[in-house]
Subunit: 224 residues, 2 copies
Amino acid sequence: MHDTDLAAAGALIGDPSRARMLDALMGGRALAAGELARVAGVGRSTASEHLARLLDGGLVEVVAQGRHRYYRIAGPDVGAALEALSHVAPPRPVASLRQSGHARALGHARTCYDHLAGVCGVALHDALLAGDWLTPAYDVTPAGAAGLGSWGVDVEAARAQRRAFARPCLDWTERRPHLAGALAAAITGSLVERAWFVRRAADSRALRLTDAGRAGLEALGCVV
Amino acid sequence: MHDTDLAAAGALIGDPSRARMLDALMGGRALAAGELARVAGVGRSTASEHLARLLDGGLVEVVAQGRHRYYRIAGPDVGAALEALSHVAPPRPVASLRQSGHARALGHARTCYDHLAGVCGVALHDALLAGDWLTPAYDVTPAGAAGLGSWGVDVEAARAQRRAFARPCLDWTERRPHLAGALAAAITGSLVERAWFVRRAADSRALRLTDAGRAGLEALGCVV
DNA sequence: CCGACGCTTCGGCCGGCGCCGAAGCGTCCG
DNA sequence: CGGACGCTTCGGCGCCGGCCGAAGCGTCGG
């Protein structure tokens, strides 16, 4: 039946250290236990305990590789739940001036789970609709299929996935929607692949728009 | 920006008493503080503290009416987050024999947030698809529009809502999908309105299928 | 083999928070 | 107006769980 232990799941996410780990894993890549300890700001032993609990709760899964153990988000359902929860969570005040530059970078372009967010994400969302690549119901038009294909996006493969194909996702900085879903993930992957965006740091969600990316987006009428 | 305090939201949901309150409020109706204290199984003072925290965190909102204070889920975003979280939460073992009758009732027919779940929910989902009222892409066919109209369901009003129109939602008891989304909520509302289902208790999510309901569903070829 | 390395398990400490009863405050009714 | 009622605030208690350092286990490299 649908009756599940909501409290257990909430408590797992509710610890600050575990939440930082999950947030880091929302980048989509698998991270080693030691790296997660560093991200969370706790000792290795403490991190190991946290990861054991997340594993037991089914929120993450682990793949052992040599003497490393790489953890990642267990599945799209977990990602969707964390994303939905982050939408209702209270905004976290920027703690220090030292972080404000980082915050500005995140506000401009970043990944939200596995798709593009921030100013660039919203601009892309608007341009796809304005340029008639996407219908208001978030389906791909013939022109959109051609255009996305030229970006290296496999639209049909995205459509075949079990997760939502394309849908709006309210952007926290912009208070306006960016694109989410399988299509958004495919587009983001292609644009990073084509070096329109580069990841600012290995463990960061912040992206930097390259000159090539700026030119490519402007060709679509996307002002950034 | 999208950076929110995931841990704070998780911690709010992570307490067993608060989770029971939220679960009770997922029925969609506003409940008084005293009733929520009874549901959670704690003293009135404790419940009041919990509700103050949920209110502060933006998960619930309150409407004062005379000497009563009615609490309800703050918005569809919160409902969606709780629903998504319940999908990844571990199943809760039935604690006692005394609860097994209750569990059986829940397994047969119940509401999941605001739509029909359980054996009846899955059967309805299958019948709507098999009877060609719904396409495999979960859009309403002309025949479906006519049939749902005769049930008193306003399909167009459901379509106009901002939430997802219709989508599958994995049923935890049945391990098969039932119908969710705005259409599912409208259908459930109409069927309760027509007394095909009656709520077993005011504070319960369990529903009872009436004779009229059984007859109506069987006319669609829905075996329950 | 033996040491370095990554990770987990164990023991013990400590702070935060969930709990209750008592008291305080506002609302409805006779 | 006084009492009943619903709810919140306050003070104090007890326990769960997050934290660390030390020790144990498996893997890689010389």
